[in-house]
Amino acid sequence: MSALNLGLLYTLAWRNVWRNRRRTLVILLAIALGIWSMVTLAALMRGMIEQQVLNTIKNLTGHIQVHAMGYRDDPAIDNSMPPPGAAILEAVRTEDVRAWAARVRVPAVVASERESAGVTLVGIDPEAEQGLSFIADAVTEGRRLESAADHGLLLGRKLAERLETRLGKRVVLMSQDIDNDIADRGFRVVGIFDADMEATETGYVFVGSTIAQDMLKLGDRVSQLALVVDDRDNLDAVLQRLTDAAPGLDVQPWTKLEPMLVLIVKMYDGFMMIWFVVVFLAMSFGLVNTLLMAVFERTREIGLFQALGMRPRLMLGQVLLESLTLLMIGVVVGNVCAWATIASLDEGLNLSAFAQGFELYGLSSIIYPLVTASDVLTANLVIIVLGLIASLYPAWHAARYVPVEAITRT
């Protein structure tokens, strides 16, 4: 097929596209709508997933955690571990580890004058949590913890409401110390923190790690070590280093610590693919129908072309080019619309009206769409490639006419 032929075919295809303007516009709208829905929905879903992953990682998970063996099955005080030794410190004080912290983390009961609630007591070194977990900048009322020896306590807003207490008042924390005796202590609430999820606000109370160790008679032992690296999908090197540095300890990446989350991410990927296919199927019927109509309308014309010497494969090419033109215009319009939609959602899509249901799944109420090259590429490729394949049927039809029959058909 020479360049001249291609030029000729393209001219023919282009003119044929606009022969029936209304029909073309309708199918263009269908293609554009399909692409728009694919890209926009993919961006929203990606945004949702990404946020969920980020939330979970910031919610005291980090990218890698080190525990004593058995802590993950039973996060009790018995499963504490000695403070990070020289080898571990060397493994985490490297370029690629962005932040790390050792924490005390045990179940406890917090009580006010009127109510009590079960929580997870987290003893933190506030400086180390910077860039590692949400608590570093979640305090919206009062002050943060100033050091590991800070005598104050941070309470979630929802929990404070539930306990009928507030900033500046005292609460009592009660837990089991290392000898399995009751450990309790009064704390003044020095800060109230807000979190995206209600479960975080009601599930955790934060105190200085030294104070927590003191209260629980832990000495300098801790419950866990958490760290974040530069790239969460590239953990192997750090993981290997830590595993070597901490024999006898349980070193796990976030994908193992939060298997549910990994599963949810996979599930969303599946959803997206299903959505792509459904949209394509709906659209392809329209496309094939349009092209078939165009071919049937031009039966005599096609017969004439062939009688004049146009080869069947050029006929095939003409219809495919027509289809490609339709697809390309539709795809461009669809992508532009999708981009405009996503750009307008830059501030985030606020779904707080349904937030309570959302929180069940660990989602936050505002979705920030996230466009990834691979999603956009997949959507466009699915439409164009599968669209062309679907158009093979009308094109094949056109190429198979017998000229005499076609010309004489009325």
């Binding site: 004058e113 005292r170 450990a183």
Partner: protein
């Protein structure tokens, strides 16, 4: 000349006297008033608790739990020795008979014959109600905190039925495992505790234990009838009526043991 000197002397003496008085007054204020008030208050609290506990005690009490739509009475036998040991056993009604609670060194166990198990009360259950009453497990277990975890102040005295009643305000330390803002305790001059009021940290009264009847039992005056009342629920209360009490008695060493909790020997 002479007159002048005398006047001067007199003036000086007067001044000196005044100075002495001022100094004495200051000394009195500094050295006597504040510490003695505080000391007195601590002593009062200690004395009242010691008076109530004695070296050891045995008592039979009826605990009545009152709710708007029901009321029930349990008969309990209580043994105590010192600050750290006590044993409570239910004898009636038959449904609850045999249930027991043992306290040793702030550790708490319960025994229920129905399931034939001794359960150590974990910290997570310390704020739950003790035997369905208006007392929490913590109230029962930690009653001696009052001496060590608070600053006490004598804030006044009252007269009641011709006897002097001391009013002590106790404010918990910041790190004390106590949720209250303050507690106000009224102690009669013979160390019988007449009232124990719990205020929240906004100094609003939350609950109050009031002695309704004082009587001589077991050789001394004790609170025979006490009632614990939550202020926001006026028709819910728990009442403790002492039926029999003996103090300073000898108890076998096995009284406060898990095996005795499980298999009563008295």
């Amino acid at each position: 000349m002479m007159l002048k000197v005398t006047q001067k002397c007199v003036g000086r003496i007067m001044f000196y006297k005044l100075g002495c008085q001022l100094a004495a007054l200051l000394l009195y204020v500094c050295a006597t008033v504040q510490p003695s008030y505080a000391d007195e208050a601590v002593d009062l609290i200690k004395a009242a608790i010691n008076y109530w506990r004695d070296v050891s005690s045995y008592s039979v009490v009826d605990m009545t739990i009152h709710r708007p739509d029901w009321q029930r009475t349990m008969t309990l036998r209580v043994w105590t020795r010192g600050e750290k040991r006590s044993l409570v056993r239910v004898t009636a009604p038959a449904k609850d008979a045999g249930n027991g609670t043992l306290l040793v060194d702030n550790k708490m166990w319960t025994f229920s014959p129905k399931i034939n198990r001794v359960i150590r009360i974990p910290s997570s259950m310390m704020y739950q109600s003790w035997m369905g009453s208006d007392f929490s497990n913590n109230d029962v277990a930690r009653s001696d905190d009052l001496v060590y975890q608070y600053t006490h102040k004598l804030i006044g005295t009252e007269n009641r039925e011709g006897r002097k009643v001391f009013v002590v305000e106790s404010v918990p330390f910041d790190s004390a495992p106590v949720v209250w803002g303050k507690e106000v305790i009224k102690i009669r001059d013979d160390y019988v505790m007449l009232e124990h009021a719990f205020y929240d940290q906004d100094m609003v009264l939350v609950k109050k234990m009031v002695t309704l009847e004082v009587k001589e039992m077991g050789g001394k005056q004790i609170a025979k009838l006490e009632r614990m009342q939550k202020m926001d629920k006026p028709d819910e209360w728990t009442q403790i009526l002492v039926i029999e009490a003996r103090f300073g008695i000898n108890m076998p060493a096995t009284t406060f043991t898990l095996s005795n909790l499980r298999n009563p020997r008295q």
